[in-house]
């Protein structure tokens, strides 16, 4: 339903995205992962046309969005902070949103605002961080868009509010098949609610995969090498999660026979293959260039 085709974007001389390709499917929750500063927010802002791509195009339901500004009513972006809501209370914000989004569902918004005991008469700026997030997300759902872009929806809030927000998101996709693109550093939330993920690294998205498949695609290797081989392993580009004495914990793609043979040739005394979780894949993927 949404295609990002070969999109590139630079700020001044700094290239942020290059030939980015991504396709979002109806009713999915897609998790965009990456280190801080990798350009996740830029991707969301490009889809919402707050930024325009230098090259490439974004197509929503067969319409190139930069030629059809009306599709913006169907795509809603919830940034980390919403400073323009600050001086207004719930009723005032709803009045504005109703004008922008003709499908805005006031009954639904009222119901959720009541359900979560969010204040109706206080200005937004006096809300707590968690309330602000919950409030912004409720209003985004009430606008009845087809795609919601959520930038760090569950980061920096308490466990109860997080539970409520995740539940809201799950119900929204289940009931209305809303597509969501979310970024987060809370990998356990991503693991819980996303069906697909993609990694943003080196200005592009790689490793787009089903979360279920990911767990079958990688192995965690625990091995014992009597000789000091850490440099040899590192030079080979095999990510090491942990290393203490003769014990090594590494992550390998199951189909990477070359690296597997390489490690086996180092004559490990012990060799255990275990399943991975998302956090381990994330560290393996993004911690690779780190000087340990």
């Amino acid at each position: 339903m949404l295609f990002i085709n070969n999109v590139s974007k630079s700020f001044g001389n700094e290239k942020v995205l290059e030939n980015l390709q991504l396709q979002l499917r109806k009713g999915e929750i897609f998790g965009l992962l990456g280190r801080n500063g990798s350009g996740k927010t830029t991707v969301l802002r490009l889809i919402q046309q707050i930024l325009l791509p230098d090259e490439g195009e974004i197509v929503f339901e067969d319409k190139r969005i930069h030629l059809h500004p009306e599709v913006k009513q169907k795509i809603l972006y919830v940034p980390v902070r919403q400073p323009f809501y600050d001086p207004f209370n719930y009723k005032q914000i709803v009045r504005v949103l109703k004008n922008i989004y003709p499908n805005f569902d006031v009954t639904y918004a009222n119901e959720l605002i009541n359900r979560y005991h969010l204040p109706e008469n206080k200005p937004f700026r006096n809300f707590s961080t968690g309330m602000k997030k919950q409030f912004s997300i409720i209003l985004a759902f009430a606008a009845r868009p087809s795609i919601i872009l959520l930038d760090e929806p569950t980061d920096g809030i308490d466990a109860v509010t997080r539970h409520d927000i995740l539940q809201l998101m799950v119900e929204e996709t289940a009931e209305r098949e809303t597509t969501m693109l979310i970024t987060s550093h809370r990998l356990e939330d991503i693991e819980r609610i996303c069906n697909r993920i993609g990694m943003l690294q080196n200005n592009t998205i790689s490793d787009v995969m089903d979360l279920d498949e990911m767990k079958g695609m990688y192995s965690k290797i625990q091995a014992v090498f009597e000789e000091d081989v850490i440099l040899t392993i590192r030079e080979k580009g095999i990510p090491i999660l942990d290393h203490a004495g003769v014990f090594y914990t590494m992550v390998l793609r199951k189909d990477d026979q070359e690296k597997r043979t390489f490690l086996k040739n180092l004559k490990p005394k012990v060799w255990h293959e275990l399943p991975v979780n998302l956090e381990e894949v994330f560290i393996a993927k993004f911690g690779g260039n780190r000087r340990w």
Binding site: H163, V170, E171, A174, E175, E191, L211, V276, N277
Partner: protein
């Protein structure tokens, strides 16, 4: 009733399948019992609806549950007791690991048999899957 662990290395749809099967074996869920809809289950355990739907489809394929159009999803009246070969191999492999651990821990075979008997009691002895 069902808890999933997102950090587990087991895919979430498999966790859902395993938990539901466990509830069936323990008799908490009985043949003919209605299961929550995909939407209700997703909201209850906070998981992606596509993932829940995948778990339900797999369970249906295995004959554990059945979906009746417009009425919902139910625990199958004839929960298929026949295990396919892959499953048998998997269980045998798991048992091998346990036997190795037990051997090194000095646990006798008699003790193991006793535990198996106890577990059988716990799951309900009328379950004829254990007599095949």
């Amino acid at each position: 009733m069902i808890e999933i662990d997102p950090r587990s290395t087991m895919p979430i749809y498999e966790q859902i399948m395993q938990k539901l099967k466990e509830l069936c074996i323990k008799g908490v869920l009985k043949p003919g019992d209605k299961l929550p809809s995909v939407r209700e289950m997703a909201s209850m355990i906070i998981a992606n609806p596509n993932t829940v739907s995948k778990a339900y489809k797999e369970l249906e394929r295995e004959g554990v549950i059945e979906t009746l159009r417009g009425r919902g999803t139910f625990v199958s009246e004839t929960v298929k007791k026949t295990l396919d070969e892959g499953k048998m191999k998997m269980i045998k492999e798991a048992l091998r690991q346990i036997m190795i651990d037990a051997f090194y821990a000095g646990i006798s075979l008699e003790q193991m048999y006793q535990w198996m008997e106890d577990m059988k009691q716990e799951f309900g002895s009328d379950d004829d899957a254990f007599h095949k």
